[in-house]
Amino acid sequence: MAAPGSVKLLLAASAAFGAASRRCLLLVGAGKPGRHGELDRGNAASRGASRGFSLSAPSRRSSEDKVTIHFVNRDGEKLTTQGKVGDTLLDIVVNNNLDIDGFGACEGTLACSTCHLVFEEHIFGKLEAITDEENDMLDLAYGLTDTSRLGCQICLTKSMNNMTVRVPEAVADARQSIDLGKNS
């Protein structure tokens, strides 16, 4: 159940910088240019400051790096978006400004459960092993299922292309949500 030794060491070492971004370095290869080279991504202040802006540099990489993900939001709406292999699901939500209320409050530092997502069975089974730390926070998530994980800990792989993840209810039925900004 525990992650392989070297992953654990890396996670422990990078705890101060935001576990999520370092974790995914293992998948993309540490030497690659691009967002993961920005070490201050783990820094809370810069992360907060950059939230409103797209972090994707003009892509010089091939489209083979891109993965399409479908999010089913709490109100049933389907949001389709793209991310790069190695991005976490939290990264995708943030970078694409997906309209999911309160997602990722602690900014990927395993200090909350607001990036809780529900996966399809066949995807869930192939995800990287869960750590005690993630399990501890998942314990607090509302509406936990057998295929739940925290989005900030799940890195995109090519095999996830076109997968659908569901954003579970936070507490009450969000379908009652009134949005006076939308045309009703």
Binding site: A44, R47, G48, G52, D101, A105, T114, V171, I178
Partner: protein, 493 residues
């Protein structure tokens, strides 16, 4: 229902609806009114997670709403700044989201304004379309036992406020010249306090804990901390992440009596996942050999923490000269019932535990803000239905003052969103007054006349920069300012 003749005439003569009472207007007109662009002015009282998340929801889901967030402290963020432990900086990342909200052109932070003293809730209700009370729980539940007033007996809330730089607890300066501290209560706050008492000082030095707290903790003699609960291991209120931190505390060992955990693993087989995992970790830790016997030969666990169960405080025992705490008398309890609803009942036996410091961590408590706002002293909350304050249209509440003082930030976040949702629903359905309201423009002169100088978010950012700069010199993320007068001077008030 026949409309009053003058109503229609007035509307024809004066397109702006403000002179008309909606009740007098014909139905068609009312429908027309609702499509006129109204700028709702909403007031939120309290700038902790409840206040900010409610504001966030309102601003996001209503394109014109303006939200003013009032705060009695000079600085924003409530318990995120004054409650979350210094060694939990990730939890404070939510401040980035709050900062974004505060930066909205439709949002204004108004610090250094004490609602209920500088301005009344009635005055706010007159000025704004809706008022949301999100002022949390600033007090603590007392033990109600003899000796509670002795030097050396503190509320955990005050201790936390002290090490986190809450101005009102600045002078607490606890006396840590004893080897044993005893904490009553087994929630996450109790573990926070224990952890701060036992963490090696060099680790605390890199956090935003106040300089004063570091100075006192550096000289602390406390070697052992007991964390005592009335009920059993299956009723502990702390969560697994915090327990794991205690277990991994450098140079401390866990003192858990295996006898307390006998037979538990069978009892929790069907328990919900969080309780099951938590109990498994407790049992596992209780059955491990003490740290001193590790293979690396380092018997370096000079400090210890332990959990004691089924003990309820009866009396604080004074020193011979009556000057301070020397111990505490605990009633030995037994459990009736099981699971989360088990009750502790006295067996008649008592036990005295020597200690030099008693910290009561048995819950925070809200206080009534204003005589015009209903308050339930027994539950310690504002009576409400889904955030609508009972018997007070246009008045709402969110967070701990609405639901009681428990839950993590995410819980309060969802609650803030819910209250926001309910408020917007009322706005949409015409439950709230629909004419224009002056908002802050009528409060500002009131405050000025009363000699109150509100602090803006920009002002806070100056203080923030100052704290960060001072912290850099000490290798800390920030050196908190703890004197409100100094803070006001720094921003030119």
């Amino acid at each position: 229902m026949a409309p009053r003749g003058w109503g229609c005439w007035r509307w024809a003569a004066q397109p702006r609806a403000r002179l008309l009472s909606p009740a007098a207007a014909p139905l068609g007109f009312r429908q027309l009114l609702s499509t006129v662009e109204l700028v709702p002015h909403i007031c939120v009282v309290g700038s902790g997670p409840a206040g900010f998340y409610t504001a966030q929801h309102l601003l996001k889901h209503h394109p014109q709403a303006r939200v003013d967030i009032y705060e009695k402290q000079v600085v924003p963020f409530g318990l995120v700044r004054f409650g979350v432990a210094p060694d939990h900086p990730e939890v404070k990342n939510v401040i980035n989201t709050f900062t974004q909200t505060a930066h909205s052109t439709r949002c204004a932070f108004r610090g250094n304004v004490t609602v209920g003293r500088d301005v009344s809730v009635s005055e706010l209700r007159d000025a704004y379309h809706a008022v949301v009370l999100s002022y949390g729980a600033e007090d603590h539940r007392t033990l109600g036992i003899p000796g509670e007033e002795l030097p050396g007996v503190l509320s955990a809330r005050a201790f936390v406020g002290w090490y986190n730089g809450l101005p009102e607890n600045h002078k607490l300066t606890p006396n840590l010249n004893c080897d044993t501290a005893l904490i009553l209560g087994q929630g996450n706050v109790a573990l926070d306090v224990a952890r701060i008492l036992l963490t090696p000082i060099e680790l605390l030095e890199k956090t935003d804990i106040t300089a004063d707290a570091l100075r006192v903790l550096r000289q602390s003699q406390v070697k052992r901390v007991w964390i005592v609960g009335r009920r059993g291991p299956l009723q502990v209120a702390f969560t697994i992440k915090e327990l794991r931190e205690m277990i991994h505390l450098p140079r401390s060992q866990a003192l858990l009596d295996p006898a307390d955990f006998e037979g538990l693993e069978d009892l929790i087989k069907e328990a919900p996942r969080p309780r099951k995992r938590l109990t498994e970790l407790l049992v596992q830790t209780a059955l491990k050999p003490p740290k001193g016997e590790k293979a690396d030969g380092k018997a370096e666990a000079p400090r210890a923490w332990g959990l004691r169960f089924l003990r309820s405080p009866l009396k604080v025992l004074p020193s011979p000269d009556g000057g301070r705490v020397a111990g505490i008398r605990l009633a030995v309890m037994k459990l009736e019932g099981s699971g989360e609803n088990a009750q502790a009942v006295p067996t008649g036996a008592v036990e005295d535990v020597p200690c030099g410091l008693v910290l009561s961590s048995v819950g925070y408590k809200s206080l009534p803000i204003d005589p015009t706002v209903p308050f339930d002293p027994k539950l310690g909350i504002i009576p409400n239905r889904n955030g609508r304050v009972s018997g007070a249209p246009g008045l709402y509440c969110s967070g701990w003052v609405k639901r009681g003082p428990s839950g993590v930030i995410a819980t309060t976040m969802n609650d803030g969103f819910l209250t926001g949702q309910v408020l917007l629903q009322d706005l949409e359905e015409g439950v709230l007054p629909i004419g224009p309201k002056p908002g802050y423009s009528s409060i500002e002169p009131l405050l000025k006349n009363r000699g109150v100088q509100p602090v803006s978010f920009e002002d806070w950012e100056k203080l923030d920069a100052e704290e960060v700069a001072q912290g850099q010199a000490a290798g800390k993320p920030r050196e908190k300012l703890v004197d409100p007068q100094q803070m006001l001077q720094l921003i030119g008030h």
